[in-house]
Amino acid sequence: MSAPAPATGCRDVPVLAERGQHEVFCGLTGIIWLHRKIQDAFFLVVGSRTCAHLLQSAAGVMIFAEPRFGTAILEETDLAGLADAQEELEREVDRLLSRRPDIRQLFLVGSCPSEVIKLDLSRAAERLSARHAPKVRVLNYSGSGIETTFTEGEDACLAAMAPALPDTDRRQLIMVGALPDVVEDQALDLLSKLGIEDVAVLPARHADSGLAVGPNTVFALTQPFLGGTLAALERRGARHIPAPFPFGEQGTTAWLAAVAREFGVDQAHFDAVTAAPRARATRAVAQAAEGLRDKSVFFFPDSQLEIPLARFLTRECGMRAIEVGAPYIHRGVVGPELDLLAEGPLLAEGQDVERQLDRCRAARPDLTVCGLGLANPLEAEGLATKWAVELVFTPVHFYEQAGDLAGLFSRPLRRRAALRLEAAE
């Protein structure tokens, strides 16, 4: 039902593991979309002024509604042990919750400084949960840069929610990963048309969504960076449905097919439901990808979306991948993607940004996918770039967004072609 896999995929190719300066965000950054997704949650980072400044700079001027996140900034007295950190935290949380009575879930988010001074946030969460139960549930996870890279923050957050979910014996599907509401609704609609009705979403938009988990639960990931959540759900007895990720027409079809197989949906019905959106997606991708055919692409590590996106760009947009760098490669999660990615590109895990820049400059790719810190400097060197962070902040999953996804990559090239900034010849 899907396009065939290449004769030799990338599952077994050796990976260049690098260690050096990482030009990536830490896991705290995930708060920027998670706090909008989970509408009754507050994310309290226990950290330094740097953490607050990072959140502000990454989200910063984009969101000026009072955000449902904040930073409890550690001060000298906290570090010197003069103040009891647990008491201090309780005081700040009390104040916060009295000001925001709509908050039902509070995440205490660990940071580099809180990890280094070994502040016990799980104990704090337990104490605070007891204090504010049943109205507010307090959970904790780490978004620190010494442990997490960018999207791993979402993974840590969802993994922290898994043990706290109620038990159920229901036969159900959980779709795992924070998606824009509009995309989530489209996916649920497709699943429902396939006849899969008992579908829940992690993270749920509200605490009282009734989300539960148990041995009859199966789950599919919509994001490739959720390895920790996968393990946490398996510990609750749920079973993972391995699949490529729903990017592009092929990825979406393969993802839906894996779920449909699990629920015994017959092929004719599957084809009937997916035919129209598949055709639409194929058309949209073809149109948007016009400028991408035969162009080369180079991925700097950023969000762990790199491997699925390289698969999409090479198989559906006709691009050639030179290097696919990912902060972390979780084979249990991206294995099906690696099978579909034809052998050829260099796979790199981790980063030494200076060496990678040397490779990138030598390769002179037509398009470089990289973080915001590198994009303008590379543009100034004459390389076309696509900011990777936009791929996390834009609706790109499933059929109806496949064309938009291709468009995100083709726009920088179209723009270069459109500008006439030199003197006329």
């Binding site: 300066q21 990482h22 990072l54 400097p377």
Partner: protein
């Protein structure tokens, strides 16, 4: 522990980054975990710099903590030297590295690198961004400059402009021309555009121009003491300040003041009858101490505004700002808490805010026009066109920038006369702006939680209830008739009218505000 939603300043190592990024030939090795590299995008995106900041982050991870983070630092330091071949290096720790106490300065010293390596001690848990920049420049100057012969003709150094500064790029151009008109050359501008080698030549200048006390004062004090160079105290933002500054320069150099006023437009624009409507506009001013002090003088003396309140976020300038507030007969607000600034503005209900990007958003929510006068900055504070704050052109730019958000003179009258017009009413906002004025001005209580319902319980710290602030609760002393009349007043003066009427009623001991009281108050405050 202190809960913070938005911060006005970053940590001190970001200040050091601003200095390093402004300079050439300098490299900064920062002992820091993964994630701290976010700071790069401040420069590459907000300021649209076309190069990476000259920083190497050691990027240690949890697994390194048990092992050898010190070795990691040394490796990174050596690799950075070999790759970038800088003239000098600065080394230091970010907040997390400060906790693991690897002593980057001490380690770098033992490495025997063939260039000056300057250690930075920036206490992350006590100080902030401006301190970090000021201290970094000071350490660089102290390490690299020494007494040398003065230049043959009169020159000065421009001290304080950094990367990511509010209009620093254009202020340098403006000041250079201004001083050039008096026959004074610029010896070195630092840190903006300087190399470490340039810093060794600082001593050749006859005096220093302290452009921004926030980021250059420690260096200027040191050079005054060690190199015998006096420095200017006046920051030349505004017409009066520019004249005073040149007077100060004349006194320091013995040259006579030369100021080409042929391009200076602020005084005439302000005097022209079209500006009459600016008279007595109540403004609230907030930002860094230096820009606030300059803005207050311009607002009162050069625009004819009334300063309704002022304050700053950098405690280093608290004393100066408190003194200034006394002169203006208002209470100073010294805080780094965005919510406190918001509630002070809501309480004062000014007609305009002169603030930072934070206040611009407060203004948006409250329906109060705002012009930005100070860092923290945003991508739009780096305009493509020339737009300094200092000197003659700076004054012109300020006039335009401050007038632009306001409703213009005749339009103001038309809105008052025909306020029921469905297209041309106060609900539509000023005709030359995007429709940014909310049709129902949102007051503070609603702001405190834009995304959630707010119960009508008193706010303990501020002692108001949302309904009181909105003015439509049962506690309101406004009669329905007076309330309706109030709503006929255009949005840009309604806040003032409400406030004046309420204080008039309180003064007179009136229990309720009816139509009579409203017009009595109007007569009372007529001017």
């Amino acid at each position: 522990m202190k809960l913070s939603v938005w911060t006005y300043e970053g940590p001190p190592h970001v200040g050091a980054l601003r200095v390093a990024t402004a300079m050439k030939g300098l490299h900064y090795v920062l002992h820091a975990p993964q994630g701290d590299t976010y700071a790069d995008l401040l420069f590459t995106m907000i300021e649209r710099r076309n190069h990476r900041p000259p920083v190497t982050y050691t990027t240690f991870q949890a697994r390194d903590l048990g092992a050898d983070t010190a070795q990691l630092f040394k490796t990174a330091c050596l690799a950075a030297y070999e790759r970038f071949q800088p003239q000098a290096m600065i080394v230091g720790a970010s907040c997390t590295a400060e906790l693991i106490q690897d002593d980057p300065g001490g380690m770098a010293e033992t490495m025997g690198l063939p260039v000056p390596v300057i250690p930075l001690e920036l206490p992350s848990y006590q100080r902030k961004e401006n301190f970090g920049a000021d201290e970094t420049l000071f350490q660089l100057v102290r390490a690299l400059s020494r007494p040398i012969d003065r230049s043959a003709h009169v020159t000065c150094n421009l001290i304080g402009p950094t990367a990511l500064g509010f209009r620093h790029r254009d202020d340098i151009t403006e000041l250079t021309a201004l001083l050039g008109d008096m026959g004074i050359g610029v010896n070195v501008c630092a840190p903006y555009g300087a190399t470490p080698q340039d810093l060794t030549r600082l001593g050749a200048a006859h005096f220093n121009v302290l452009m921004y006390p926030e980021t250059g004062e420690a260096a200027c004090r040191w050079m005054e003491r060690e190199l015998g160079q006096p420095y200017t105290r006046t920051v030349p933002i505004g017409v009066g300040a520019t004249r005073d500054f040149l007077g100060e320069v004349a006194a320091l150099t013995g040259r006579s003041v030369a100021l080409d006023e042929s391009r200076l437009r602020l005084p005439w624009y302000s005097a022209s009858v079209d500006s009459t409507y600016l008279t007595g506009k109540r403004v609230f001013i907030f930002g860094d101490g230096t820009h606030v002090a300059c803005a207050a003088r311009i607002a009162r003396d050069e625009m004819g505004f009334e300063v309704a309140g002022l304050g700053c976020y950098n405690r280093e300038q608290a004393r100066m700002i408190r003194g200034l507030a006394r002169d203006y007969g208002v209470e100073a607000l010294i805080t780094e808490d965005y919510l406190e600034v918001e509630s002070r503005i809501a309480e004062l209900a000014p007609e305009m805010i002169l603030g930072t990007q934070m206040e611009r958003h407060i203004g948006k929510r409250l329906g109060i026009p705002c012009a930005v006068i100070s860092a923290p900055v945003h991508v739009q504070d780096f305009p493509a066109r020339y737009s300094p704050q200092m000197g003659i052109e700076g004054a012109n730019v300020i006039f335009d920038t401050w007038v632009h958000p306001l409703v213009m003179g005749l339009e103001e009258h038309l809105l008052t006369m025909f306020r029921e017009d469905f297209e041309f009413s106060d609900d539509a906002g000023a005709s030359h702006l995007h429709a940014h004025a909310p049709s129902q001005p949102i007051r503070h209580a609603e702001l405190v939680s834009a995304s959630s319902p707010q119960p009508d319980t008193p706010n303990q710290e501020e002692d108001w209830t949302p309904k009181q602030v909105r003015g439509d609760g049962e506690n309101s002393i406004w009669t329905a008739e007076a309330e309706a009349e109030l709503k006929k007043i255009p949005f840009f003066v309604r806040g003032k009218a409400r406030r004046n009427t309420e204080s008039f009623a309180a003064e007179q001991g009136r229990a309720a505000i009816d139509l009579e009281t409203l017009y009595d108050a109007k007569a009372h405050y007529a001017r």
